[in-house]
Amino acid sequence: MENEGKKRVWSEYQKEIADDHFFYVRSCIRQSFFPGSEQFFLDFMRNGLGKDVFENPSHTTCTGIGYHGDIVPIETIMTVVARHFALMKESGYKNIAISCVTSFGIYTEILETWKHFPEQLERTREFLFKATGREFDVPENMAHTSDIIYKFRDEIASRAKYRLINHQTGEPLKVVEHIGCHYSKMFPKHGVGGAEFPRVLSGMAEAWGGEIIDYPERRHCCGFGFRQYLVQANRGYSVSNTAKKFASMEPYKPDFILTNCPGCNMFMDKWQYTIREMEGVTFGPSGDSIPVLTYEELAGLVLGYNPWNLGLQYHMVQSEPLLRKMGVEFDPEDKYKTKDGVQMPIPRNLINC
């Protein structure tokens, strides 16, 4: 293929990511399950890179969980998202940084809907104005926070204290990257690499020294699926999907799983415990489970942050085997201490400990 043709084809898989001045919108569940992730992102962006990341305390849920659970109508979620855009406009920002893949999918779906059905945009403007008296602009640039970390991956690599190398054998660590379905499967042009060649996590892992595993169910859903999980009777379907994915990656002996979606991270972490309890099956080496990290936790480890400040102890599958492989220095005594040094209760029956 001529270079010109290649450029045209690959332009569909590129994405423009803003460099500075982000209006940051949060996830509903991330702060509960992986509190260190967001903390790292904000700290690194503001203090590490000197970027302007603004949070508005009036920001709310995007209602994506309710929308995908068939409880919230599309007109309602459009108005809620429009309110976020109004907060962004009032705060003087044009670049939105979304920390949740579900929300990211919602925002992309709504922007595409408004593009193809302008009358919906006008109705939403009307709904929002009637309800709140606010007006909004569509963002100039929209990025998931993993896009932003991807953009600065080489910067992180240049400051790395630890690399994704097994410090005993010198071999690259084997990384399973799992990208949330709503990141680019619905609207490929909004994701780095599109739906066919998603690069956002593999680009990070490779820049930091890891080796990506290409296994048969690499692009399979994590099993979250909202309705499958929200209704208890359907959860067997959810966990069966996750088990299929784990069984597919197991022969490749991954050192850890890297995700960019709060739901995927929570499910791949906690379902390993559930499957172990239900079937007595584990998917890591020697009866261990596979640690599951967010891209921010991984970036933090690479940069030399204290793993307990990154909140790794909040995971169901503990990360000590990975920390030892990377050669990360950590004090086990500090694992369940508050920042003031007060000892917290230590959970029993921890996995991988």
């Binding site: 009777a233 959860r235 069966s240 499957i275 309890e277 239900m278 079937e279």
Partner: protein, 114 residues
Amino acid sequence: MNRFGYSLSKARVIDYDANNHAVAEYIAEKEPSFRLCIACGGCAATCTTGNFTEFSLREINILIHRGENRKPGSDIRKCMLCGKCILVCPRGVNTRNVVITAREAFKKFGINAL
């Protein structure tokens, strides 16, 4: 163990690598025409047992070829060996002997032994 109110479902994917092909190989060795089956379903359409029960020789053939032996191992005992299926088979498969040999194989390999 179903202590959470839900349980794992087995994947419905056909895993040729993990399946047991011993039964299919045994039948093909004893009755080579077994390999000729194109799963047209003529045998199942004419089958008296199939007319009154869930029995299907076509399904049994397909499952044994895949190495999925559990259901055929239990179903195959329903056949009355009337042989009408031999008369309609367009590929000339000796279906009656396939059934007899399959029963031997299931007994030999201990799969739902008759």
